[in-house]
Subunit: 338 residues, 2 copies
Amino acid sequence: MLSERRLEVLRAIVQDYVGTEEPVGSKALTERHRLGVSPATVRNDMAVLEDEGYIAQPHTSAGRIPTDKGYRLFVDKLAGVKPLSTAERRAIQNFLDGAVDLDDVVGRTVRLLAQLTRQVAVVQYPSLTRSSVRHVELLSLAPARIMLVLITDTGRVEQRLIDCAAPVGETVLADLRARLNSRVVGRRFTDVPPLVQDLPDSFELDDRPAVAGVLATLLETLVEEKEERIMLGGAANLTRFNHDFPLTIRPVLEALEEQMVLLKLLGEATDSTMTVRIGHENFHEGLNSTSVVAVGYGSGDEAVAKLGVVGPTRMDYPGTMGAVRAVARYVGQILAES
Amino acid sequence: MLSERRLEVLRAIVQDYVGTEEPVGSKALTERHRLGVSPATVRNDMAVLEDEGYIAQPHTSAGRIPTDKGYRLFVDKLAGVKPLSTAERRAIQNFLDGAVDLDDVVGRTVRLLAQLTRQVAVVQYPSLTRSSVRHVELLSLAPARIMLVLITDTGRVEQRLIDCAAPVGETVLADLRARLNSRVVGRRFTDVPPLVQDLPDSFELDDRPAVAGVLATLLETLVEEKEERIMLGGAANLTRFNHDFPLTIRPVLEALEEQMVLLKLLGEATDSTMTVRIGHENFHEGLNSTSVVAVGYGSGDEAVAKLGVVGPTRMDYPGTMGAVRAVARYVGQILAES
DNA sequence: GCTGGCACTCGAAACGAGGGAGTGCCAGGC
DNA sequence: GCCTGGCACTCCCTCGTTTCGAGTGCCAGC
C-alpha cells in the first residue's frame, strides 16, 4: 500500500502532466506543489511509484509520466468528478433546447460534448432494444411493396422496404396495421416477438405469407445490431494533442470510423453508471493511448443508450467526467419531454 | 497561348508531382517522360510556365510544383476522366446492393467512395426540395401533440413534433391526413405550398388553428436549409498526406464538421455535371490546399443531391473523377429501384 | 526517514561542413 | 530561331559534433 504522500505525488504528477504535456521531474514538482519535502525525497517516492508501475520515464534521465495503471489509480482514488459551473450548465440548457427532432437532439449533443470537453464526442441513438413502440406504420408503395416505419417512444424513426411475394390489398394492410398497433404500442421492443407470433393465423390463408413477411422484417429490424446508430463529432480536436502526432491520430481516426468499435468503446453496461476506460483497457490496437469516458442516458432511471468522449489518456478526467455526466442528464430530460 | 510541348511539360509535372509528392526538376522530367528534348529546353519551358503562373518553386533552386492555376489547366484541357476497371465496377455494385434503407445506401456510398478514392467522401442526402412526396403521416402522441412524418420518393423520412395550442381530435386528424395525402402525394415538395394553402378553410372553425399549425410545420420542414443532411466518411485518409501535416489537417477537419461549409463545397448547381473546385477556388480558408470533386446524382436525369470527395489539390484527378462519376451513377440506379 | 551534494546520462538544440539536385544563363550548332 | 551542352551558383537536406541542461541515482550526514 502506498503512503499518503506518495499518492499525493502521483496526483501531482498526473495533474502537471495533463497540464503541460511534458514529463515532470522532481524539482518542478516541489516547486509547483506544496508537498513539504525536498526534491530528493520526491525522487525516492518516484522510484517507488515506478517500481509499482504507476509511472514511467520515456527514457533515462527524463521526467516521469503516468502509466495507464497510474491514471487508473488517479481516477479511482485520487480524483472526484468536477461539477460544471452554472454558466456551463446554462449553456448546455440553451444549446439543447430548441432541438426539433431526435436527429437534431443527437446532433446538438455531439457538438456540445465536443465543444465542452474539447475532445471527440460519441453519442449513440436510443437503442431499439431498450425503447418502446410508439407507432408502427405500413405504407403500400407498390402492389407488392410495403414500407415499414417504426417509431419509438424516444422519437427514433426506422424505415424498411419489404418486397412481398404477392400483392397485398389495402384492406389487409389496414387490418394488419390496426392489429399490429393495438398489440405492440407501448410495449418494449424486446417484448414484441411473442406478441405478434400468432398474428398471421387470424388472416386469410392467401394473405398469410405477406403478413408473415412483414412481421419477419419487423423482428429483423429489432434484432439487427447494426441498427445501433451512432453519431460522432469533434474529430478536429484530435489535432490538439499534436505531440507524437501523425503516428497516433491515424489509427484513432480509423478506429472511430468503425461502428462496431465505437459501440464497444461505449461499453455494454445497461445502467447509467459512468465508465472510464483507460489506454490498453480498450483492447483495441490504435486506441492504446486514448481513454474513453462514457455514461448511459435515458428519460428515466434506465439508460436507453450511451454517450461519451474519446480523448488522449492524458486528459482532464475530473472535468471530462463532469461534462459527460451533466450532458447525459440534460439529454435524458430532453428525451423525457418529447 | 502555350505551345503543345509546354502543355506536355505541364502535364508531366502534374503527373510526377502527384505521384512522388516532391517538387519535380527538369532532369528528372526528361528521364521519366519521353519528351524528346533536353533538360535545358525543359528548363526554358518551365521558366515560361512559371511566368504564366502555372507552376511555382517552393524556393530557389528547387523543383517546380503546379499552382492551382496549373491544376485547373490540367483538369480542363490535359486530363480526361479515367474509367474504372470492370473489377472496380463490380465491387461498387456488390457493395451498394443489399442496402436496406436510405441511411444504409448513403452510409455504404460514403464508405465506398472513401475507399475507392482513398480520400474524404461526402454524400448529401436527397434534397427535400428536389424530391416528391410519397406519404405524409400524422400521429397523435398526446391530445395536443402531433408527430408529423414525411416520406419522400427517395426513401427519406423526416419527422417533426408539433405542439398544438388545443387538443386535436382523432377524427380531425384522420380527416386532415387523408386530405393532405390526396393533395400532395406524388407532387414535388416545392409545389406543395400552394396546394395546401386553403386546406384549413374546409375544417370546422375550432379546428383551424391546429390544422394551420400542422401545415406551418410541414412547410417549415420543407424550407429549412438545415434539413439538407450530409454524411461524411474516410477522414482517416486525411492522414495520408502527412507532408506539412499538422498545419494542414486541422483546419480541414474543422471545416468538414460544418454542415454549411460542406454544402457549399458540393456546389449549388442542380444538374448532374461534375464540378472540380481546386484550392483557393473553394473560397474557404483552411481548404486552400484541398480540392473538391463533386457531382449530382439522382434516379432520373435530374440530380436530387450531390456527392463527392475532398482531397489534397495534389490528387489524381482523372482517377478521382472517374470514381466519383461511377459511384454517382450506381447510387442513382439504386435509388431508382427503391 | 529526510536532505543536500555530486557524478552521470541522455535528449534537444545549435552549429557547421559537404553533397546534391536544381536553376539561370550563355555560347555554339542545326 | 530554337535547341543543347556546359558552367557557375544557390540552397536545402543530411549528418556528425558539440554544448547545454533538466533530470536521475546514490551516498553520506543529520
